[in-house]
Symmetry: C2
Subunit: 361 residues, 2 copies
C-alpha cells in the first residue's frame, strides 16, 4: 500500500510518498522530473544496494540517470565532498532544469539538497531517504546544509524538494545502530507535540526495533505527518519549527566536539534530549517521573542517555556557535511535559552547566 502525505507550502508544496518497494516504481517519480536526465547523489554504502533499482526504474520511464557516489559518514559532510557533486553536475552538463536525486541517509540528503539549492542558483531535487532518520526527519522540510569545523549545519539553505519517496523496504538493510539512531527522532515528535504517539511508542518500541512492518510504517507515517504539519506552519523556522530542535543544540555540540562521525546524529540527539529534560526538571517545568519515562524509552531503544565527557566549558563554547543563539543568549528547546516543548532563554549559563554535568560522563 502506498500512502501520500502533503507538505503544504503554496507553490513549493510537495508529496511524501510512503510505501514498501516504491523505489522500483519509476512512475511514482516521473511526474516530478522535468527533463529526461537526473543526477543521483548517493554514497558508497547505499550505491551497491539501491542504485541499480533506481536507475532501471527511471530508465523504464525514459529518464537517464547518471550518478555520483560520495564517501559515507558525517565527517564527509563538508565543502570537499559537496564539490564532488558540483564537479559531477558540470562534468555531465546538467542544466538548471535537470533534477538531482538524493538517494541515502541524512548526510546524502543534506548535501544533495544543498548542492541543488546552489547549482546555477537552484535546480529541482527529490529526496529518496534510505535510513529511518532521513525517512522520518531530515528528508522532509527543506533544511539542507554542510558542517563547518566549528559548528554543525552552519552552512546551508532552506530549499524544498519536489517530492520525497520513502521506501520502507530500505530499512531492511539498515544496520541496527542506524535504526536506533533514527528512533531518537521518532521519539522526539512524541515529546514535543504528540503525547499519544509517545505512549504508543512506549508500547511498541520493541516491535519497531524488531522491524515489524506494521509498527515501522505507523511510526514513519506519524512522524512524517508531525513534521509536515510543523513545516507547513513555519517553513523558515521563525517560531514553532524551532521546537523540532529539541536536544539538538546539546546534540550538535556533542557531534562537533567528539569529531563528526563518532556519534551518530540520532545518538547525540538522544543524549542531548536527556540534558534538555534534566534542565527542564531543574527549572521546575518537568517532573522527575517524566524525566524517568523519557530516559527509560531511550534506553529501551538502545540509545545513549548520557553525553560524553567533553567538559562543561568546552560544551558551552560549542553551544555558543548554535543557530539558536540570539543577541548572545542561548535559546533552548525545553519541556513543560511529555508532548509539550517550548523555546526559552530562561535558563542561566550556570543552570545549563549543571544539567550538562549531571547528564554527561
Amino acid at each position: 500500500m502506498i500512502q501520500t502525505l502533503d507538505v503544504t507550502l503554496e507553490e513549493r508544496s510537495y508529496p511524501i510518498i510512503i510505501g514498501r518497494g516504491v523505489l522500483a516504481n519509476g512512475a511514482l517519480l516521473r511526474p516530478y522530473i522535468k527533463q529526461n536526465k537526473v543526477l543521483i547523489v548517493t554514497n558508497e554504502t547505499v550505491a551497491p544496494l539501491y542504485i541499480d533499482t533506481v536507475q532501471s526504474a527511471l530508465e523504464k520511464q525514459g529518464v537517464s540517470a547518471i550518478s555520483v557516489v560520495l564517501p559515507d559518514g558525517e565527517q564527509f559532510k563538508n565543502w570537499e565532498t559537496l564539490n564532488l557533486i558540483f564537479d559531477a553536475l558540470l562534468g555531465a552538463h546538467c542544466e538548471r532544469g535537470t533534477t538531482l536525486v538524493a538517494l541515502g541517509g541524512g548526510v546524502v540528503g543534506d548535501m544533495g539538497g544543498f548542492a541543488a539549492a546552489c547549482y546555477q542558483r537552484g535546480m529541482p531535487f527529490i529526496q529518496v531517504p534510505t535510513t529511518l532518520l532521513s525517512l522520518v526527519d531530515s528528508s522532509v522540510g527543506g533544511k539542507t546544509a554542510i558542517n563547518h569545523p566549528l559548528g554543525k549545519n552552519m552552512i546551508g539553505a532552506f530549499y524544498q524538494p519536489k517530492a520525497v519517496l520513502a521506501d520502507i523496504a530500505t530499512l531492511d538493510t539498515l544496520p541496527d545502530r542506524e535504526l536506533k539512531a533514527g528512533v531518537a527522532e521518532v521519539i522526539k515528535y512524541g515529546l514535543i507535540r504528540d503525547p499519544e504517539f509517545f505512549s504508543w511508542l512506549e508500547l511498541h518500541i520493541d516491535s519497531i526495533l524488531a522491524r515489524d512492518p506494521e509498527a515501522v510504517i505507523f511510526a514513519v507515517h506519524r512522524s512524517c505527518a508531525n513534521k509536515a504539519e510543523v513545516v507547513a506552519a513555519d517553513e523558515r523556522e521563525t517560531g514553532e519549527r524551532a521546537l523540532l530542535n529539541l536536544g539538538h543544540t546539546f546534540g550538535h555540540a556533542i557531534e562537533t566536539g567528539m569529531g563528526y562521525g563518532k556519534w551518530l546524529h540520532g545518538e547525540a540527539v538522544a543524549a542531548g534530549t536527556l540534558i534538555a529534560a534534566e534542565l527542564s526538571c531543574q527549572l521546575g517545568w518537568l517532573d522527575a517521573d517524566a524525566v524517568l519515562r523519557i530516559e527509560r524509552l531511550f534506553l529501551r531503544a538502545g540509545l545513549p542517555v548520557r553525553g560524553p565527557g567533553l567538559g562543561v566549558a568546552r560544551f558551552l563554547e560549542l553551544m555558543r556557535h548554535d543557530k539558536k543563539v540570539e543577541a548572545g543568549r542561548l535559546r533552548l528547546i525545553l519541556l513543560q511535559g511529555i508532548g509539550k516543548a517550548v523555546m526559552s532563554d530562561a535558563a542561566s549559563e550556570a543552570q545549563i552547566a549543571r544539567a550538562i554535568e549531571a547528564r554527561c560522563t
Copy 2:
C-alpha cells in the same frame, strides 16, 4: 544630495541609497542593521581606502564592526575564499541575526552575498558597492555566486540584501580600467531596454570617463532604475530578467576560458555584446548601422570589441555550461534593435560559430 530608489519585492523590498559621501553617514545604514554588530567583508584593495570610514560611521551608531579582508580579483571568487568568510563569521560568534556588509566590487558583493545566503541558512546583508560595475549592476537584485573551474557563477543563490548603499565618491579612487569595465554594464541597459539612455550615452560617454559628477550620477541612477524595474518584475529570472545577460553567455566563456581575472567582467561583456550584435545582424534582426553604432560606443568607452582567440570549438564548449542552456539548446540574448533585446534559441550552432569567428581575434 541623496537619492533613493526602491527595489519592490514584497517583504524582500529594499532601497538603493545613492549619493556622494554616504559611506561616512552611518545613520543611513542603521535602520537596516538589527543587532549592534556587523561583519564587513572587503578586499585588500578596498580595505585601506574605506574600511575606517565605514567602521567609524557604524561605531557612531553604536554598531561594532569586525572585518574580513579577502584577496582581490575574480580568480579568488571560489570556495577557498568563501570559507574565509565563514571562518570569520564563526570565529566572531556571529549569529543568524548579525548583519554582513559587503564593501567592495562585484566579486566582494557576490561572495559576501552568497556567504550571507548560506550562513546559518541565511543572515541579513547589505551591499556597499565601490566600483562602477557593482554600483550599476551586481549590487542590485540579489544574484550571488562563486565560480567553478568549469563555469562562472555556477554555484550561488538568489538572495536579496536589506539595502544597497551606493557612494558615488568611491568612484574617485577607481582605476580607469575598472571604470571602463563598469561602463559596459551601463551601456547594456541602453541596449536592452532604454534607447533614449543609449543616445544620451553617445553624447556623454566622454564626461563619464572624465568622471564628471553630474554625468556619473545620472548614469548610475538611470542604470539602477532600469535594474530595479527588471528585478521587481522578475526576481528569479524566469523571463525578462534574462535580458540583462546580453553579452554574458559569450562573456562568461571568455572569462572562464582565459582564466578568471585575466579579462575584467565588463571587458568580457563588451566583447560578448559585440558577438551577440554580430549574430543578431547575421540573423537579419539588427541592421549593420546599429552594429556599428554599438561598436563605436564601446570603442569610445575604451572597451574591447573583439573576443580573444580561444578557438570556436573551445568557445562553444564553454558556452554549453551556461545557465541559459535548456534541454540542450543554448538560449541567447539577441538584439532586434538598439533598446530591444530578446531571448531566443533560434540561432544554430553553425551561426553562433560564425559570429564568434567574425568577432574574435
